[in-house]
């Protein structure tokens, strides 16, 4: 029960974020029940029943089981016609209640325009202008994926792959996340589901602890990584697994033992760098 309540709390947080549109929806339902009793009766009843289902823990449990627990609590709220009813209520407000307002009585068209403008301001204040501020990034003109990622994949990973061959890449998560979307010829030693746990539902495959450590090493999150020996071991492991391209964040080459390990080995050769990353390529492949 505690897990369920926690899931509901988290889901509600995901659903509302920093916005207050759900309040508009509740106001819309209130208005429909108490002021517009004869309008869109079935829709109103459905919305009310669904809202109760989504708030009552037992029915939530049932709904989550129905959704096979693949989708979380927040996803279930798509069943509620929030945008529809809010839109209906706000439109009704503009046409039915706005004429009662005292200002601009002589200019009905301007009054409607003023109401729409005021409503836009209200929605802006209760919502946001940026898409999910935490998660998405602004794309650069002409790029679909993050610019630096796309550039590095084009220039240093996909450039010159022979016909019918594949290239193995090991890089920080920011690049690995987009690598296979960018080009299907790029193969990865581990998939995105290693660090995005919700993606593990998409496959039964799993990874051994050493793969998780490899992920930690390339991302700079592995403990004790400042030792040169550890990096040397991972570099030799990468070359034995024939990982063609290695990419590291530039700042790591000054902070831990990786820079020294890279100097000592001869399997990988420096190929190039961008503002944020530095690229190494398997020597044999470069010579070929």
């Amino acid at each position: 029960m505690r897990n369920l309540l926690q899931a509901m709390k988290d889901g509600y947080g995901l659903l509302t974020g920093e916005g207050q549109f759900l309040v508009f929806f509740l106001i819309a339902l209130y208005i429909l029940w108490f002021f517009k009793k004869n309008e869109i009766k079935e829709l109103k009843r459905y919305a009310t029943v669904m809202l109760l289902f989504l708030l009552f823990p037992l029915t939530v449990k049932g709904l989550m089981l129905y959704a096979t627990a693949f989708y979380g609590y927040a996803e279930l709220w798509v069943l509620l016609p929030v945008t529809l009813l809010t839109g209906f209520m706000l439109t009704g407000f503009i046409f039915e209640w706005a004429p009662e307002l005292p200002f601009l009585r002589k200019y009905p068209v301007w009054r409607e325009a003023a109401c729409i403008a005021a409503m836009a301001v209200l929605l802006f204040l209760c919502g946001t202008l940026s898409v999910m501020p935490v998660k998405t990034q602004v794309a650069s003109m002409g790029y679909v994926l993050p610019k630096e990622t796309e550039e590095i994949l084009e220039e240093y990973v996909c450039n010159g792959i022979p016909e019918g061959e594949k290239v193995w890449l090991l890089a920080p998560d920011d690049i690995m996340a987009y690598a296979r979307t960018y080009d299907g010829r790029i193969c990865l030693p581990y998939g995105r589901f290693l660090w995005e746990k919700e993606l593990s539902a998409y496959t039964y495959d799993s990874y051994a602890a050493d793969t998780e450590e490899l992920h930690g090493w390339v991302n700079g999150t592995l403990t004790g990584m400042n030792e040169v020996e550890i990096s040397e071991n991972y570099l030799s492991m990468c070359s034995s697994k024939e990982i063609t391209v290695l990419i590291f964040e530039k700042e790591r080459l000054t902070a831990d033992g990786l820079a020294e390990a890279l100097k000592k080995q001869d399997s990988y050769r420096y190929t190039g760098e961008t503002d944020r990353y530095v690229v190494y390529r398997l020597a044999e492949r470069q010579d070929a």
Partner: protein, 307 residues
């Protein structure tokens, strides 16, 4: 029978087109037909479907002309009466499309459609390797995810048009979802405010503002529309569920059935039973209870000697 609106035709025919892709996807999955061969079948199948739709429309038009019933047309009079409001809505919609197509990086967390489409195209086969790594599966993949046809649909479009998968998945398909979502809300506008163009266009304007400013949570309608328009969950939330609800209100069984089937082919469901089906059941139960209540009230009224 009520006249089928152009928007309804568009939504339902889009589902039919997707249905063909789903059938081809299953052929690729179970019969191991290469994606290139599937594309070779998809093109004539889709063209045949479009021709059939056009022929059906022509026959319907002729039939209605003979019967003397009016055919549906747009509302140019409404547009002429309220041009500023209409233009404002169109301007907002266009700006929204430009905004999310040019400036937003796709929200890929929790989704592997892009990788899957690229994998289908590179391997020229359906689910022969793990889309997230490019190497063979060690344990496999849940069958109920494998049967979902959206990645194959996108891969077929890539194969036929030559458009890169990144653009097809993250730019073109979200635009299609965006347009269809407005079509659905346009149909709702006609349903909620029949023969009142002024209210209809204002309703759409309000919806556009709700989408624009409602991007605050990862599952809010606005965020889905602008950052994840290619996903099955987005199509369900913004097209299938509102359209099925509209069909339920209008008692159009065909539309509801199509949405139930489309959902089963697009998102993870309980052996085909998805949220559209659940919504249908709830609406029908509410309707049944309401009818029963009215019947009992009428019986009581008669018993008490009412006329």
């Amino acid at each position: 029978m009520a006249q089928e609106l152009a928007g309804e035709k568009l939504i339902e025919r889009s589902i039919y087109i997707f249905g063909i892709a789903e059938a081809l996807h299953l052929a690729g999955l179970f019969k191991h037909v290469p994606v290139s061969s599937l594309a070779g079948i998809a093109l004539p199948a889709w063209l045949a479907a479009v021709v059939l739709f056009a022929v059906k429309d022509m026959l319907d038009k002729k039939k209605k002309k003979k019967q003397g019933t009016e055919t549906e047309s747009g509302d140019p009079a409404g547009f002429r009466k309220f041009p500023y409001r209409t233009l404002l809505f169109c301007l907002i919609a266009v700006l929204q499309a430009v905004w999310f197509l040019m400036l937003q990086t796709p929200e890929i967390s929790g989704d592997i459609t892009g990788e899957t489409v690229q994998t289908f195209l590179t391997e020229n086969a359906v689910y022969t390797v793990n889309p997230m790594t490019g190497s063979a599966f060690t344990q496999g993949m849940p069958a109920r995810l494998k049967i979902l046809g959206l990645p194959a649909f996108y891969a077929l479009i890539c194969r036929l048009t030559g458009c890169p998968a990144v653009y097809t998945v993250y730019r073109i398909m979200p635009l299609v979802t965006f347009l269809l979502a407005y079509v659905v809300y346009g149909l709702w506008a006609r349903f909620l405010f029949p023969k009142d163009y002024k209210k209809q266009i204002t309703f759409l304007l309000v919806i556009a503002l709700l989408f624009q400013f409602g991007c605050y949570g990862i599952v809010s309608d606005g965020a889905r529309l602008f950052a994840a328009g290619w996903r099955g969950e987005t199509i369900r939330a913004l097209i299938l569920l509102p359209y099925a609800l509209l069909c339920l209100m209008k008692k159009r069984k065909k539309g509801v059935l199509l949405c139930i089937l489309a959902e089963a082919c697009m998102v993870w469901t309980l052996y085909g039973a998805g949220l559209v089906l659940l919504m249908t059941v709830i609406v029908e139960v509410i309707r049944y209870v309401d009818n029963r209540r009215h019947m009992l009230l009428r019986q009581n009224f008669k018993k008490e000697g009412g006329v």
